[in-house]
Symmetry: C2
Subunit: 364 residues, 2 copies
């Protein structure tokens, strides 16, 4: 863990970013010619760092997963996010705790008809079982029969103001154990932004924070997870992105437990930095009935994605999860209109032309 | 066909209903004791009718499917239903025709913000292909590679008045052909009623018409198709029926083509009898904001069922069907509220206690 924090600090010192990810994820030294000697020394230093890092990684794969630490962090993350949101909204979130007969339970934190957030939830859940059913892991039949646990924090916020985007964030951990065998585990997570009226400054800021959270763990991760997000949050029956994207990853354990966990922490801890400034600057922007109408119409797309395509939602609903907690992702109000299209060139049309098509929001 | 119409007429003459389905689908003579001789003669006559009928059925299995006739009837059914609904609403339905690159197309008839119907569609579609993909029929791999066509009329109507129930009706035909082999075909369909404020008179009327449409084809069909409807239109993640049910059937060919087609015609043609009287008597019933709120909330259940559980909707959306036509089933406006429950004993609570639990609406 120390190593990680050191490396993280190193890459963000005053010497600036000294390597830059290419599209294919490789790094290039970007020090200029007059600093050739300096660059060389950096290169040598870097090789030595990378060797140590590679050793550390190969070692860290051996580190034992620590579900208790993950759980404590998740609960703290939930508390910090709720507290910050309460500060912006001025209203307290409800707290609903629940238990699951088969093991585990959760804490749902919810708000409806707040001053700023029209409907939203920040939910923690931790479920476990003595024996993983074969059907649960079609792709990993060797896990059947193992003891398992899954935990995570999942949030969706639908602000009242149509100029403030809806946001989703999720961090999760899964582990399956069996006596005498190595535990099988992975992390998943991400966050993505769904504006009604697109704003380039907002989109760039959100993607920048996502980028920066992942940067310490490897330059290839952000482009990979950004693309994964674009692919995942795509409404296939509309041929339309859900929003302007962000990052998404799943089945992630390639850095070993400590570093993978650190990465997930960086993502979860980055959420408030990514979203709060956007919410702050849009929450009081004046709007009228037209904007609310468009927001309600576009909220229909959110419903369509979550109920038709989102694996998490469908798995939860189809496996007897807690329906009301899962469906906190549903917007407060939604409309459907037949074959409606915005007037070309209108602010509503710009969402379709300038924001929903996949693009690199961090391109200069 | 003549035989069918004759038998249909016979069972609805002034002599009244002379047999009555038990729960298990068998029939019992219900003529009273003072009419014993009359009952006996009916019984003998009935045995002879049933013998002829059995012969007719075994013969009718040989009748060749006639997709052209089905298509003509479906288009006529659509036109008749739209005309009748326009008469009630006072507004014309839009007409949208579309073609499918792979073959076929459809005619969507739609209404939004009518006087009576807030949003609704009566859609005809006819799609076909030269070769059925193996994935399309996992349960019938022997059909892969066959030429196929599917056609149907599907309607959903969401009336404005919260006292008027939402209704769904569908009739459909599928055929897969291959040179030198018998065609494989089946019909499917049904109709079901989704009230917001339940009404026993309405529910009984709807189920009676469903019953009567099926009665000429065998006393076992209504209980079978009623149960099938209860099972199908069930929102598993809510442990709640979608509404008060009706009838549902699929993969139906057991009466041979002519009689199966006649049955489907009886269902489709019965729709206006089943629904229009209910719409007529509820469309002007006074209501307030409370009733509209509850309607919008309950409409959320319709969305949840259709997008999470309805095989037709999911197959359509996931296979590249025409999204706007498929999603005409979505209500015009919907709300979600966290863990909301009606006040015990209220008219809203009665929906949950007295209408949604499965029951025999035709029980005396």
């Amino acid at each position: 863990m120390q190593f990680f924090y050191w490396r993280s600090t190193f890459t963000t010192t005053d010497t600036g970013r000294w390597d830059k990810p290419n599209d294919d994820g490789r790094s290039t030294i970007v020090a200029n010619a007059s600093n050739a000697r300096y660059a060389l020394s950096i290169t040598i230093f870097r090789i030595s760092v990378q060797s140590s890092f590679a050793f550390f990684l190969s070692h860290s794969h051996m580190t034992t997963p620590n579900p208790a630490a993950v759980k404590a962090w998740l609960l703290d993350l939930q508390a910090r996010i709720v507290q910050a949101l309460e500060g912006v909204d001025g209203n307290a979130f409800l707290r609903d705790t629940w238990e699951r007969a088969e093991g585990g339970g959760g804490v749902s934190r919810l708000i409806e008809q707040g001053n700023v957030i029209e409907r939203g939830g920040v939910n923690f859940s931790h479920v476990r079982g003595a024996s993983l059913p074969p059907s649960a892991m079609a792709a990993r039949p060797e896990l059947a029969g193992r003891a398992w646990e899954a935990m995570g924090v999942s949030l969706v916020l639908h602000p009242h103001n149509p100029y403030a985007p809806t946001v989703h964030m999720n961090v999760r951990f899964f582990e399956a154990t069996a006596e005498g065998k190595d535990p099988v585990w992975w992390f998943g997570g991400g966050m993505d932004l769904t504006p009604y009226y697109g704003n380039k400054e907002d989109a760039r800021h959100f993607h920048q924070v996502c980028h920066d959270a992942l940067a310490p763990f490897g330059a290839d991760l952000h482009p990979r997870f950004k693309r994964w997000c674009d692919d995942y949050f795509y409404i296939k029956h509309r041929k339309e992105a859900r929003g302007v994207g962000g990052i998404f990853f799943d089945d992630f354990n390639e850095l070993g437990f400590d570093q993978s966990y650190a990465l997930v922490q960086a993502v979860g801890n980055g959420f408030l930095d990514a979203y709060l400034p956007i919410l702050q600057r849009r929450k009081d922007q004046p709007y009228g009935e037209r904007e609310r109408d468009f927001q309600a119409y576009r909220r229909g797309r959110y419903v369509e994605f979550n109920l038709v395509w989102d694996r998490g939602t469908l798995f939860g609903l189809q496996s007897g999860g807690r329906t009301e907690a899962i469906l906190m992702s549903m917007p407060p109000n939604v409309t459907w209109r037949y074959d409606w299209h915005p007037e070309p060139g209108s602010p509503e049309a710009q969402l379709y032309t300038d924001f929903l098509p996949h693009r690199d929001w961090l391109a200069p």
